[in-house]
């Protein structure tokens, strides 16, 4: 169907309008034109976004060139701008969020889809989907007033277990890259759970029945048959979660500490790209500073593409291995 419609459309003879109108009335061409327009609109929006970001960041691009990406100084007074601390903070907090969020989210999705009684599953899923609709500023507030004090109380325990690594060294003030990662994890888990659960539920029952008939236990069926089947969808949920955590603004800026420096320790404050744009763009004092925030937007766009691409390559290679 989808293959025939475009040919029908493309082969439309230009001179014979009446035939075209006839086909239009039959519906296929209308649907084709409408959906094509929708798809092109999305493409155009993305292209326009990149174009505007590129054009408006001309000033800092000319002044700093590629060194903008490597610079570690952010000094608006001296007009010196380097984006590395923000790139670092964005990547570290998102990685931490995925590290916490993936096992918890996928684990919960498996339980809800495969093991929990239907009533419990539906009730819990409803609550989790509500969680996904909570505005991020609320998560930020919860972060600063509930999570940060809790982490301060938990700090000795974390330090006792992980304190030997440089990742958990140095003083801890409550606001830190670690806190931001945890808040992001809480925010992305609902996405991972609700999509992964749907995907697991969509695995055909025959797959399960087949495995069970061959003598597999329930867990073996889930782990060896259902999950590989649902892998692509689960990965999709993780991509969405990653995109949300990379671009998150309010919740991050409230708990990350907003210090434009690169620290090895997760307990130290940091800064993310989205947070610095939100904090400073409206009050940028001159054209160069304003341009740098727009360039940071471009950098975030590029970063998202690169990370998403890498993740997709990873999925492709692992899926191939699984198949062979």
């Amino acid at each position: 169907m989808s293959a025939t419609a475009p040919t029908a459309f493309n082969a439309r003879p230009s001179g014979r309008a009446s035939a075209f109108w006839q086909r239009l009335r039959s519906g296929d061409d209308i649907a084709y034109v409408i959906t094509l327009t929708c798809a092109l609109t999305i493409l155009a929006l993305a292209a326009l976004l990149v174009f505007e970001l590129y054009m408006n960041s001309a000033l800092p691009r000319e002044k700093f060139g590629w060194s903008f990406l490597k610079g570690t100084t952010w000094d608006p007074v001296a007009g010196q701008y380097g984006a590395l601390p923000f790139i670092y903070g964005t990547v570290v907090t998102s990685a931490l969020a995925l590290l916490i969020g993936i096992p918890l989210g996928v684990g919960a999705a498996i339980f809800l889809a495969e093991l929990a009684p239907a009533k419990v599953s539906n009730g819990l899923t409803f609550l989790i989907e509500l969680l996904a609709a909570v505005p991020s500023v609320i998560f930020g507030l919860l972060g600063i007033f509930v999570l940060v004090p809790a982490l301060v109380a938990l700090e000795p325990a974390i330090r006792a277990v992980l304190g030997w690594t440089p990742l958990f060294s140095g003083p801890f003030y409550g606001v830190s890259m670690f806190s931001a990662g945890v808040v992001l994890a809480v925010m992305i888990i609902p996405f991972i759970i609700s999509i992964s659960r749907e995907v697991i539920l969509a695995v055909p029952t025959e797959q399960r029945e087949g495995a069970l008939a061959l003598g597999a236990t329930r867990w073996e069926t889930t782990w060896d048959v259902v999950l590989p089947f649902a892998k692509k969808g689960i990965m999709g949920s993780i991509f969405l979660a990653l995109a949300r955590s990379l671009g998150e603004t309010m919740a991050v800026t409230m708990v990350i500490g907003n210090e434009a420096k690169i620290h090895q320790s997760l307990f130290a404050p940091g800064y993310s790209i989205a947070a610095v744009i939100a904090n400073n763009f409206s009050e940028a004092s001159d054209a160069l500073e304003r341009g740098t925030y727009i360039e940071l937007g471009l950098v975030l766009f590029g970063l998202t593409i690169i990370i998403n691409g890498l993740a997709r390559v990873l999925v492709l290679t692992t899926t191939k291995k699984g198949a062979s």
Binding site: T73, W74, D75, P76, V77, A78, Q80, I144, F145, V148, P149, P171, Y173, G174, V175, T253, M254, G257, N258, E259, A260, P269, Y271, A275, N279, N280, S282, E283, A284, S285, D286, E289, R290
Partner: protein
């Protein structure tokens, strides 16, 4: 966004003039600083009640936005917590072919606020101590530089946690302007600006972010806008002024800082931090309206000039109810003369 608003407003004006050609409606667009926004919105509202044909629409988009938009000509006048610098003034002249005028409206101040467990006394800070703390050179609360101004207060030997604003703000400009005047080290390295390269500390978004972080973090110190501190009943320290007194920030002390300026420059672009005189609170500043010296539309020009006259007389009487410090009389007199520069 604002441009679209402008177009909508322009359409509205057109509709109104068509509808009621007799009563000439004047709609003026302005935008800029957020700090004086409550005051400005009260003024514009009161003025509209008095002269129903004049409506001034103010978007509190931040000082940077105010400067950018008045330069681009998308607003009739702008507003900023910091004066425009020479580059910005030149940019305005190149683009618009006329000068930009600064008109002080009210005064604001920054206060140091802190959270030291076990210390309830109101602390005294010298400029040297504040600069040392924010430079990361003074790292403990019982450092002699702090202790010597606070005899009788038992200060703990804990590490100081510095909290500053993470967003660009006029509040930061006033704070760093003061530190630049009292410390040579500060003036050379971070310097003054609406956002600087902080040597130490955590960043909080807005006054509420800074005060939230201070409440959450033991042994911390930060700075907030005086009005914010008054409205939220926060404790804040006294700061030593140029005359050597430790002064607790108050509206009177802020107005005194402006009155202490012996010579007000013709363009009103003046910093009054660390101002001389008794009773002066040293971390104070004006906030300005930015008005083009040439306004093409004669009705708009008249409306803006009339508003300025009203703001300097009746408007000033409304300031203290909203916790803003009013302008000293000498500045008002000088501004009244400067209104003639608008042509």
């Amino acid at each position: 966004m604002t441009r679209r608003l402008f177009i909508v407003n322009a359409a509205l004006v057109a509709a109104l003039t068509l509808g009621a050609a007799s009563a000439q409606q004047v709609l003026i667009n302005a935008g800029g600083a957020t700090f004086p926004y409550p005051m400005y919105s009260k003024w514009f509202d009161e003025y509209h009640k008095k002269f129903s044909n004049i409506a001034i629409n103010y978007a509190s988009i931040g000082s940077g936005g105010g400067i950018a938009q008045v330069t681009a000509g998308t607003v009739d006048f702008g507003a900023s917590d910091g004066p425009m610098n020479d580059t910005q003034i030149k940019e305005f002249q190149d683009k618009r072919g006329s000068a930009i005028l600064h008109f002080p409206t009210v005064l604001g101040a920054d206060v140091p606020t802190y959270n030291i467990p076990g210390v309830t006394a109101q602390l005294n800070f010298t400029g040297e101590a504040l600069a040392g703390i924010f430079l990361g050179k003074i790292t403990k609360w019982d450092d002699p530089a702090i202790a010597k101004a606070n005899a009788g207060v038992k200060l703990p030997s804990n590490n100081i946690v510095v909290v500053h604003r993470s967003d660009n703000s006029g509040t930061t400009y006033i704070w760093t302007d003061y530190l630049s005047k009292v410390s040579k080290d500060w003036a050379t390295k971070p310097g003054r600006g609406t956002s600087v390269d902080w040597p130490v500390g955590l960043g909080g978004k807005g006054n509420e972010g800074v005060s939230g972080s201070i409440q959450q973090t033991a042994n911390s110190i930060g700075y907030v806008e005086l009005i914010y501190a008054i409205q939220n009943k926060m404790t804040y320290g006294k700061v030593q002024n140029a005359a050597g007194e430790f002064v607790l920030a108050s509206l009177a002390g802020v107005t005194a800082a402006a009155a202490g300026m012996k010579e007000m420059p013709e363009d009103f672009r003046v910093s009054i931090t660390n101002a001389p005189g008794k009773g002066v609170y040293p971390i104070s500043s004006f906030t300005w309206l930015l008005i083009p010296s040439k306004i093409a539309d004669p009705t708009k020009k008249k409306a803006i000039k009339d508003f300025l006259v009203w703001m300097l007389a009746d408007g000033q009487k409304m300031t203290e109810a909203l916790s803003y410090a009013p302008l000293p009389k000498a500045v008002v007199a000088k501004e009244l003369k400067a209104i003639d520069k608008i042509q």
